[in-house]
Subunit: 173 residues, 2 copies
């Protein structure tokens, strides 16, 4: 049937070398491994560290804004909280003001774990920073931010209409 549909090898090389999505996935995986390895003695993964750190606020946040901040699906956040709850590092409580909402609360033990992980993060990040070309760190950060923000709103893509999640900003300055 659909046989002999040949795609030129040059096209493969083009995609490999230019696809921003592929480059982002590669970099994300590599950085995840780097931080996972470093944080392992603290008992955290990079994602757990980011999540728990984002819960360290004066007022415990609900789930929606945290999911937006991390640019992840709300259902992913629900799942990601499970192991942290089991370990007693995070509590998911009802908000009496609006019983649909939850309050994500870092426990004392959760804060202690996070405090132990913090110097590892600093060290690892400083090391990473030092290896990037001068100013590369800031540039890269800014461009990644632009990409995340951009992909959130896709006027052309009907997907944002079909699935109006991922609204954007969160956690006020």
């Amino acid at each position: 049937m659909s046989n002999s549909v040949e795609i030129p090898f040059s096209t493969t090389l083009l995609v490999r070398d230019t696809c921003l999505c592929l480059h982002a996935q590669r970099a994300a995986r590599a950085l995840a491994r780097l931080f996972d390895d470093a944080l392992r003695p603290a008992g955290l993964t990079n994602g757990q560290f980011s999540l728990m750190m984002s819960l360290n606020r004066p007022e415990p946040p609900p789930m929606g804004p945290v999911a937006s901040l991390l640019a992840m699906d709300q259902t992913t956040l629900t799942a990601a909280l499970k192991p942290l709850q089991r370990k007693g590092w995070v509590m998911v409580m009802e908000n009496p003001k609006d019983r649909r909402r939850r309050l994500l609360v870092l426990t004392g033990e959760g804060k202690a774990v996070l405090a132990r992980a913090l110097p590892i993060w600093k060290e690892t990040h400083a090391m990473l920073d030092g290896r990037l070309p001068d100013g590369g760190s800031a540039r890269l950060r800014q461009e990644l931010l632009a990409v995340s923000g951009m992909a959130v709103e896709t006027p052309k893509s009907a997907a944002s209409l079909r699935r109006p999640r991922h609204s954007g900003r969160a956690m006020g300055e």
Copy 2:
């Protein structure tokens, strides 16, 4: 016990704003959603597209180099191939020259699916490109590449000794 270990909110904001790992995960998730949405009519995810495209070579590659190219664990590749095999888009064959190795072969139907996905990728990527500041695309690509390559080799990290995977380059120019 380990109570009242307070981490200042300013530290949380610092991590949120500067952590390259977090920024990379955010951008990777956002881009994955963008391309997943776009490629959905073709029946592929962004990862499946990248993987299958990387198999479109004159000679079918073994698993190791493909995993390195995608900067993913070899076990992840094994798992990622399963659904593609079920759909009949990829065949995993033994290499008679070295029976430890596998040859990853794109089937005719696989090539057809990939060919249908290609214009979607082009369109989506052009749209993305257009929204980035001038030259931002190339700069971002280069920096992501630097990060992926860097995180692969971590002389300081004993992890690379304990777990000598992810060797680096693959798929010759």
